[in-house]
């Protein structure tokens, strides 16, 4: 079974801090994704990566960056956290080719005070 593990379930940080959210997958998937989930807005794609060191902006990349130094690990970085980045963050991975399902982690609920 595919396992996508997000390092923290809950995180509380202060405005202006640099925040790192970590995600690891164990299925050697090429593609990895970061979403944020807010009530009524569904899943919004922040960034995705289709290979090591490769990244592409999603729909809402402002205020975020990502890092993929190893195939199994995809990190989301909030350069200078703001209160409007308080949200649930979900990481996902997917294999290459065809219509492969996306596998999600259980999310990190991030609060910025």
């Amino acid at each position: 079974d595919v396992k996508v593990t997000q390092s923290s379930r809950y995180l509380v940080k202060r405005t202006g801090e640099k925040v790192f959210l970590e995600c690891v997958q164990d299925m050697d998937h090429e593609n990895m994704f970061w979403y944020r989930q807010d009530p009524g807005l569904g899943l919004r794609l922040i960034y995705f990566s289709y290979d090591v060191k490769m990244k592409e902006k999603g729909d809402i990349p402002e205020g975020y960056s990502v890092s993929r130094e190893k195939k199994e690990r995809f990190s989301l970085i909030l350069e200078s956290a703001s209160t409007n980045q308080t949200s649930m963050y979900l990481c996902a991975s997917r294999g290459q080719g065809g219509n492969q399902p996306q596998h999600f982690g259980d999310g990190t609920r991030l609060s910025i005070l």
Binding site: G40, L41, G42, L43, L45, Y50, N99, P101, F104
Partner: protein, 113 residues
């Protein structure tokens, strides 16, 4: 813009009822339509999926109906149970590209005992 439109945003039914969640899309390149189920505190997980060459797919109590000409598809849950209470996301996928899966905004279903 939202590639997949989903309604309703929330739904409350009695146990045994048949909730129906509707989705619509415009892009005719989509060729795979999965549904994801998300329980509180968990990430979304693949529930059932359909390809446009069939009009209906059943898995247990869950049925997808697909209308290719109208570019609409829907999820029906037969004999709904309180354990079905969750958020449901429809999605549409095109065959190529690393970021090829587009989600609806989600429907929060509550099944009352």
């Amino acid at each position: 813009q939202q590639q997949v439109k989903q309604s309703p945003q929330s739904l409350i039914v009695q146990k045994g009822g048949i909730p129906i969640i509707n989705c619509a899309y415009e892009n005719t390149a989509f060729d795979y339509f999965p549904w994801y189920q998300q329980f509180p505190g968990k990430g979304p997980a693949l529930l059932i999926a359909i390809r446009p060459d069939v009009s209906e797919k059943k898995e247990g109590r869950f049925t997808i109906s697909f209308n290719k000409s109208a570019k609409q598809f829907s999820l029906h849950i037969m004999d709904s149970q309180p354990g079905d209470s969750a958020t449901y996301f429809c999605a549409a996928s095109r065959p190529t590209g690393a970021n090829n899966l587009f989600f609806g905004t989600g429907t929060r279903l509550t099944v009352i005992p």
